[in-house]
Symmetry: C2
Subunit: 173 residues, 2 copies
């Protein structure tokens, strides 16, 4: 799929076919994550691929009632950051890990769309609860997660702001 | 360009041809930014497109000696976040704006590669100094910036970690 076409094809898919993902497609998605840019190319991330049904069920139950649909997807991917490995002074004011993770998960969802797979990038979860289920220690931060699988629905695109509302020229307006 | 090919083509370009960017190409790059995913689809961003030579020169001089090469590029794009418009509780622990900006700038650099344009995503700048030059107030955060133009060099790809070092299955390892 062409880059802009894949960007236009991005959807939040909340219904999945109970069909496994071919290894080759999963490999392509993970390779896209691997290629994501990061501050000083530090790649401060680790992605947990959850396929085991029992673990998936536990994870989904820790995600709250809005996200039960995830259990249908054959895979859930949890995006973890390693802040100690990230660039500590982005803009001279913050650790780069959330920006790095934004790029990495963005590569993930785009590559999935490119493979004909659906995702639903989640931000509204309790990191504490997920860390409990995944037995993660304090060193790791969970920044995002998504189901991955063949879509069983084709939702319309979400609205975007007009280009004039997000772009300005030469000075801030 | 195909999605994975564009991801593989990403480079940090530090030499640019003194050639303007066709409007159509700039429009495609900005449209890609517009299509980026964000928490609750809030799109908490504004991108400043700097083409005026005088402003470009001032901005570059505020970026420090490592980044003087930027002045050759016909355009510099400054990615600003609007934290008050972002989702305040990502993972129940942080404001989403850095993650949103990671996705948006990631779309920018990918779409640029797709158009045959070079970028160099910068993280090591002083937000304070840039805000002074751009007359930005405290409400806005500068999260990243990049020159944009036709590459006058073809640097080799940067290394990436092995896939086994960034992926684990069913539990964190």
């Amino acid at each position: 799929m062409e880059v802009l076409e894949a960007m236009k094809a991005l959807r939040n898919v909340r219904k999945y076919k109970p069909v496994p993902i071919p290894e080759e497609k999963l490999k392509n998605v993970l390779n896209a994550v691997r290629l994501a840019p990061s501050a000083e190319n530090r790649q401060p991330w680790k992605f947990i691929i959850i396929r085991d049904e029992e673990r998936k069920r536990k994870l989904v139950s820790a995600c709250g009632s809005n996200h039960k649909f995830m259990v249908e997807a054959p895979v859930i991917i949890v995006g973890c950051a390693l802040p100690d490995e990230a660039y500590p002074a982005l803009g001279s004011y913050m650790c780069s890990y959330p920006v790095d993770m934004g790029a990495a998960i963005s590569h993930l969802v785009l590559a999935a769309a490119n493979e004909g797979l659906g995702t639903c990038w989640l931000y509204d979860f309790s990191e504490d609860r997920l860390k409990g289920v995944l037995s993660l220690d304090g060193y790791v931060k969970i920044v995002g997660l998504t189901p991955l699988g063949y879509p069983a629905e084709n939702p319309p695109p979400t609205d975007r702001k007009h280009i004039n509302d997000i772009v300005c020229y030469d000075e801030y307006r």
